[in-house]
Each structure stands twice: as structure tokens, then as C-alpha cells.
Symmetry: C2
């Protein structure tokens, strides 16, 4: 990976031009963890919708589709699921199609537009995501950007930490090592600063919000590192619905 | 400081609405360090210009004004100074007026517009800046934002570290402690991760650039913490020139 630049955008609006870059999008609490768990549960395809209304419309036009998403953190009226990794972990989604409404996650996914490769990353697939990014960078001659979703336009420590976990994995998995931007160095330092994700995540703004709405069990699922070798990607298991 | 929110914007475009917030702007390598050293050297007023051309025009209209600023890191043709804290540290600026052209610093200062208080901060005045922010927050009932300049639209580890140094000082100086956003927590963790600024700064993107142009001595001046009790502010020692 000589000369491969590894950058972290701590917010979607920092992602810049993603052409020529392999991108991983991170919304560890909870959208990208949910997307991964849906894949783990055998889900055929997730259609990511920018709003709850768009998901409803899509659901009405496609009978049999599973409705999932959040409004104020909880499942909107009439939806089958919220944005709860713990609930998806208990669900049988084998062969099902899900339409999934998430605000921050959608914004981050859209900010990656133009990228030749857009992967879904979280702690559960951090090493697998790092390997997939390395492979894509080598194969395509791409630089790499990890895009953090943040929370309502602000930096999220949960996502920055997860980006750091992936940077750390990439340094272990890639030879030669990629060139880290200042943001990638900082993300890795944050990962090093907190030895236990299950201790950090509940203290973050996103984590506290999940606890407030009574879904603390979701944080355990979000904090589990390297539980999955799956790396969903846009165009394969995941599709973006236009606004 | 009960209920005072302390936030860090890692880039000017994240600063959001600064009304009702006491703001400190940070461009430790090198603009805010330069601004502070000019004040230390007795400079009467610094007029911050958005471009080299604007500084030249201002200089032509105001005989006797000192021209300072950077183009590719160095002093533009005909300027008295670059953006070099080490050069300012040796200069006699007592009673002088300086017009100072800096791109990243100007962008950050402009992003703070609307804030009732805009302070100039760096490592050299980190504790003094923390105290001034606490005082202003208490007096005005303000929340607090530290705005990092970053480098060409990207996160700068030097500025994030400096923000963390100020967060750390505020936690020591303020009783009760302010409420830290995720970004403030992260900045402080970065400060904790690097015990020596003089070791970190040369490794950052901005630091490497300064070394490349042969101005490594500037980094020593930038890395010195708590050397000054001065806290220049917009409207007092520092004025923004309209574009």
C-alpha cells in the first residue's frame, strides 16, 4: 500500500471528493451496525431510504418488504423494526428485503457518492472492513477515506473511535502501511485511549441517547468487535434510494 | 459553570451558529501563535486580511503599517514579515500596527462571526485563554466553542491537540466543570495522548510543511505552553478586514 493515503472524515461534510477513493461509512450507533446485523441474519437486500416517509412509500409499492428505521430513535408507527441491532439480531431476515430509514446514516452514505467502492463498517466487522479496504485500494489504485456519520452535524466520539479501530486494523493488515493523514492519526489515538468499547460507547452522545430511550442492549451489539466477516457494500446487499 | 457546554469544532465549517457562545479560534501552526507573539511584542493592533492582495491594498492606504503574511508559507514579495512566530519574537513591534494575511486563520475567524466574544488561542496562552473563556461564559451566560482552523479544509492534529490542551485547562480552572461534547472529550484525549507538544507538532501535516520550507524554529515557539497571559480578542488588538 505504498503511497496509499488513509484519511478519516469526522463528519460527512468533510468527505470531499470521493472519486478515486475506496470509502467505508461508519455510523456505529446504530445504522451501520444495524445494516451489518441485517446481513448477518441473511437479509437479501437493504434499501436505504433518506426519510421515514420515503421508506413508507417504498414499502407500500413493494408488498412483502420489511420496514425498518427510526424516528426519535424508535420505530415509526407501522414499521416492523426500529434501528435496533439487538432486535435485528433476534430476527429471521433470511431472503427478505428491508427498507431502512436512517437520517445520519443516509447523509453519510450520500456524502460518499462518486466513490468507486462504498463499504458499510462498524466495530463488528472492523478487521474484515480493513481487509476489504486494503484489497480494494491495491486492486484499484485507490486512496481510502473512512467517513464518520457524526450526530446531527456534530463530531461523534463513537464513530471516530470506530474509525480508529479500523485504522489500527489496517496498519496490522497492510504491508507496506498506508500513509495516515492527521485525522487518521487522531482517530487511532482515540482508539488507543479507550481500551474497552463497551465502556466508551455508553458515555458518548449517541450512546447516552440510546440509553435514554431504553435501548441500552443495542450498545452491547454495537461494541462487539470482529464478530462478522461480512462487509456489506453499496450495490451489493445495500442500495441507496434516491430522495 | 453549571450547564455551560464546551464544544470543539475541528474545522471552521463545523462551528455552526456562534451567537450566544464565547469562541476561541485556534491555528497553532502558525497564525494564532503569530498573532499572540505580535501582541507579546507590544503590537498595537493587528488587522487580519483575508488575502495577500487585501493586505497589500491596506498597506498602501495606510503608510507606516507593517505588512505580514504568507503565500506558500513564506513572506510575499515586499512584505516585512512572513507568518513566522520566531521572526515576530525577535521583532520590535511596540506601538506598531500590522496588517496580517492568513488564509486558514481568516477562514476560522470568519466562521466565528456572530459570537459575542472571539478570542485568539494557541498553546502559548492556553491557560490564560481557558480562564478568559470561563470568565466570559459565566459573565455572559454563554456556551463555549473552540474553533480549529485545520489545514486546507481538513482536520489538523496540531489544532485539535491545542483545543484539547485548552479543554484540559478549563477543567482545572472552572468550578463546576463545563459539560463536554463528544468533540471536547476527544480533543482532551488527544492532548493526553501526546505528553510533549514539541514532539507532536513536527509530526503533524502543518508541522511537516513548516519544516519543509526551512522554518522549523517556528515550531518551538508554537509548542511552548503557557508562556503568555495575553489573550488577544477581535475588537481589542485584533480586527478583521472585510473581504
Amino acid at each position: 500500500m505504498n503511497g496509499v493515503e488513509l484519511h478519516v472524515a469526522f463528519l460527512p461534510q468533510e468527505a470531499g471528493d470521493c472519486r478515486g477513493r475506496a470509502v467505508a461509512v461508519i455510523d456505529v450507533i446504530r445504522a451501520t451496525t444495524s445494516l451489518l446485523v441485517m446481513a448477518e441474519r441473511g437479509c437479501d437486500e437493504v434499501v436505504v431510504a433518506p426519510t421515514v416517509a420515503a421508506a413508507r412509500t417504498f414499502g407500500a409499492a413493494h408488498p412483502g418488504v420489511v420496514l425498518a428505521g427510526e424516528q426519535g430513535g424508535l420505530a415509526p408507527r407501522g414499521f416492523d423494526f426500529g434501528n435496533s441491532p439487538a432486535a435485528f439480531a433476534d430476527a429471521d431476515l433470511a431472503g427478505r428485503r428491508v427498507v431502512f430509514a436512517t437520517t445520519n446514516g443516509t447523509r453519510a452514505l450520500h456524502s460518499a457518492r462518486g466513490a468507486p467502492v462504498i463499504l458499510i463498517a462498524c466495530l463488528r466487522n472492523r478487521t474484515a472492513a480493513a481487509r476489504a479496504l486494503s484489497d480494494e485500494a491495491v486492486r484499484g489504485g485507490f486512496d481510502i477515506t473512512l467517513i464518520c456519520s457524526g450526530r446531527e452535524g456534530r463530531f461523534g466520539l463513537d464513530d471516530a473511535y470506530t474509525a480508529g479501530a479500523i485504522v489500527d486494523a489496517m496498519l496490522r493488515e497492510s504491508e507496506p502501511a498506508p500513509d495516515l493523514t492527521d485525522a487518521a492519526v487522531a482517530a487511532r489515538a482515540l482508539f488507543d485511549a479507550y481500551p474497552k468499547a463497551e465502556v466508551l460507547l455508553p458515555t458518548t452522545s449517541a450512546g447516552r441517547n440510546v440509553i435514554e430511550i431504553g435501548l441500552e442492549a443495542d450498545l452491547n451489539v454495537c461494541a462487539e468487535a470482529d464478530r462478522s466477516a461480512l462487509v456489506p457494500r453499496i450495490g451489493e446487499r445495500v442500495r441507496l434510494l434516491e430522495a
